[in-house]
């Protein structure tokens, strides 16, 4: 009966559409990104204040902001990288959001997803930002290089350009190794190896991929959770890649609607939260199998064995899709989420240390 409880601690109604929320590292503040009704971008910083949140800073940008990440920022700078509806990648110093510290027209169309690595002490190597866009391209950016990406992964000229919905970094456990996972609207899942500059693995899971995340960015690839349309998500064991079968995975049904995103608990990589299109959030726990690899009869090569997931909690917060969810790194059990009911919620998840 020691089920973790998910409690909506604070609810704050906003006057704009919320697309993303991120805790500012090493603070009780978080930044909310979205779009005002007139199409301009909203960038607001809130601070936790004894059972309430208070607005610290607010600025309006010319373009609606879709997504943001602190992943590539140094801790003392805490610069937020954002992708907007017009395909522009901006990096903001939140102390002064008048002009971006780095700005580039990254894509021709909306940036659906952004992720950073090697900042905040998470991941080795050069801090980089990855963006995925409706124009079908996935680009990796280094803020030291102005005006052009360090890596561009796009379909060849003339080939169909699928809408890239989700990107994430992983495998950044040393200076050389780094991977980018990208999910597309047609269910394509691609894993790019930035060390060898090649496509390491790809598969199709039939349903459009809305969100994906490695359980940890800064370790040798362990697990990858992929959430899709049609109320499904997949968990891949990324330790063992078979030359033909690839990575082994399991499929799980949840939310009875689109699974919008997945976020692993920073304090425990085997616990993760998925957010649903029906306004519910689910907490899951992954259990490893007895042996993570096995050899099939008459075969030399090992194939990965996937474990199992158990649902710890399922809580309905609203009736609208939960667009974003972010765990607070500094305080276990604290999280923020945004939903399309224009409400920001601060959540408390108890008993996480007991599961």
């Amino acid at each position: 009966m020691d089920k973790p409880q998910v409690i909506s601690h604070i609810e704050k109604s906003m006057n704009f559409t919320l697309y993303d929320v991120k805790w500012i590292p090493c603070s009780a503040k978080f930044v909310v990104m979205g779009a005002h009704p007139q199409g301009t971008g909203a960038l607001q910083v809130y601070e936790m204040n004894k059972g309430d949140v208070s607005l610290v800073h607010e600025s309006q940008k010319s373009k609606a902001i879709k997504c943001g990440s602190f992943g590539a920022s140094q801790l003392h700078q805490r610069c937020l990288a954002t992708g907007d509806f017009e395909g522009k990648l901006n990096v903001w110093n939140l102390e002064n959001t008048e002009v971006p510290v780095y700005s580039v027209q990254a894509h021709k169309e909306i940036i659906n997803s952004i992720d950073g690595v090697a900042g905040l002490g998470i991941g080795e190597g050069a801090p980089e930002i990855v963006t995925g866009s409706r124009d079908g391209a996935v680009k990796v950016w280094d803020t030291r290089l102005k005006g052009k990406p360090v890596v561009e992964i796009a379909p060849a000229e003339g080939e169909a350009r699928r809408d890239c919905w989700a990107v994430t970094f992983g495998h950044a456990y040393n200076h050389q190794d780094r991977c980018v996972a990208a999910g597309y609207d047609n269910g394509d899942l691609k894993l790019f190896d930035l060390r060898s500059m090649s496509l390491r693995w790809e598969t199709n899971i039939k349903n459009g991929i809305c969100g994906l995340e490695f359980d940890r960015k800064d370790i040798n690839m362990n697990k990858l959770v992929v959430t899709t349309l049609e109320s499904k998500f997949h968990v891949y064991d990324m330790r063992t890649q078979h030359s033909k079968k690839g990575f082994t995975s399991l499929e799980e049904k949840a939310h009875s609607s689109t699974v919008w995103s997945v976020r692993h608990l920073p304090q425990n990589r085997d616990i993760f939260m998925t957010t649903g299109g029906n306004g519910s959030i689910c907490l899951w726990k992954y259990s490893y199998p007895a042996s993570r690899v096995e050899k099939q009869e008459g075969e030399e090569e090992e194939v990965g064995v996937v474990g199992s997931v158990t649902q710890l909690q399922n809580t309905a917060l609203t009736t609208q899709p939960i667009s974003a969810f972010d765990w607070c790194v500094d305080k276990p059990g604290l999280a923020a989420c945004t939903a399309f009911d224009q409400t920001l919620r601060i959540l408390i998840v108890t008993k996480l240390n007991k599961v």
Binding site: Q5, M48, E95, E128, V140, R144, L145, D330, G333, I348
Partner: protein, 524 residues
Amino acid sequence: MSKFNMLECQQQVKENSLELNDYLRELEKWETDVKKKDDKLRTSQPLANVQPKLPPVRNEAKRQKRKKPQSSENKKEKPQPIKSYNYSAWDKFDVEKACQDIDQGADQQSSEEDDDSADNERQEMEWRVQQAVAEKDLGNDLFKKAKYEEAIEHYTKGIGYDQFSAILPANRAMALLKLGRYAAAEADASTSIGLDPTYVKAYARRGTARLARKCLAEARLDFEQVLTLEPDNRQAKADILKIENFLEKSKPTPDLEESQPEKADEGRLSKKLPAKLDVVPGLVMPIDKSVHLRSKKPLTRISIDEYDEDEHISLVETEKPPETSQTKQATAGDRLAVSSGSDNRVTGMSSPSGSVDGVHRQSSKVDVVIGDESRQDRARTTVTGSINKDEGTADVAEDDGPPLPANSVQLQLDWRRLKGNSSKLYKYFKRIQPADYPRLFSQFLEADVLSQIIAVLRDFYVCEKEDVFSVLAGLVHVARFSTIAMFMGSTETKALNALFERVKQSGLHSKEDVAAVSLKYNLS
């Protein structure tokens, strides 16, 4: 059972709310803690040395990777080391060769390092060129705004970055022209031409500068060069016309000594070389052909006729050089040349006309040295003319030194060449008008030069019964003369005394004048 369940449920709820309360209390504490931490982080400046050294930007790393495979190939070439127990192989082992290989390997390695440094150098060079272009653009903008001084500053900076660009000095020349600093403009344009002999604008600008400096003949050459490169250049045509008009006006009575066949020859030459209207007969000229027009055929050896010194002198005596006062005619130098060949391929060895310093315009100064024939210094070497393709006629002209110098630099060069040959020096010196001494000798007159002049006066002027006094009086007006006169030795003083004695005896000049001049020579 259900009662038990309900109790449990109650307990659960109580537990949950307790847990939540605990969490909220903790949360509040965390809030205050983390806010302090946050403030500290925000206010404190990051220490420079704390910041980790970041790996290079990704695509730069990639570029380095591309280079690596080359070096690994080298490694693959290395033969397998011979195993210590493989005696037959050791028997065949050539120690000398192995040592050599090791040496070569070291060379290779160093060359690899050279590659690296060359790469860096190239990058540095690229950067410099970029900077130079940026400076040029800035300069051009300022030039358009008529801020010539500032434009010149930027061009100068640009030249500092990239001294091989022909455009920068040409642009600076233009700005200098606008400011009326013609001499500097001419020098810059010459530099530009030296870097790119096909750069039309540089010729045009040098022509303009020379025109402004009243060096008409040179200006004309430049404009003609513009026309050869760009036949439709209206400005150049107009300028040439202007020069011709000017020359027409200032032309003295035609020189009687200029013989008819020579003129015909000149006409023929000019047909061949439109750029050189004042080509002198019997003179070997470097042929001004821009690089792209030059013959691609290989050079061929050409026959050289040798003349004895005596023969030459007899020639000189029989055909006295025309004594002229005009600079232009003096450039029609008097060099001996025999044109008998029929090979136009020799043009390949001609030097471009726009030599870098702009002073060596006088092509007659170019000594053509061909092969080992040149070692006969006593014999006159003459070069078969490349000009006449179909004719084998031999024109004999004579040579008694370079033409009249246009400026002091040229004078210095000529003087140095003629120093050993006093008879030629005499002829050369004689042609210089005493009135020109201050201009030509100003930076050049030293004690040794003065003693050479005095020697010439003593040895030749006296014999030829030339006017010694005008020379002596002319030299007095050269800057710093009095200082130089103080360094005269006893031989010079003696010679001077003799000279002045002759002047006095001749009675051509008033005694006061002679006394005043001799006083300047520190003679009592």
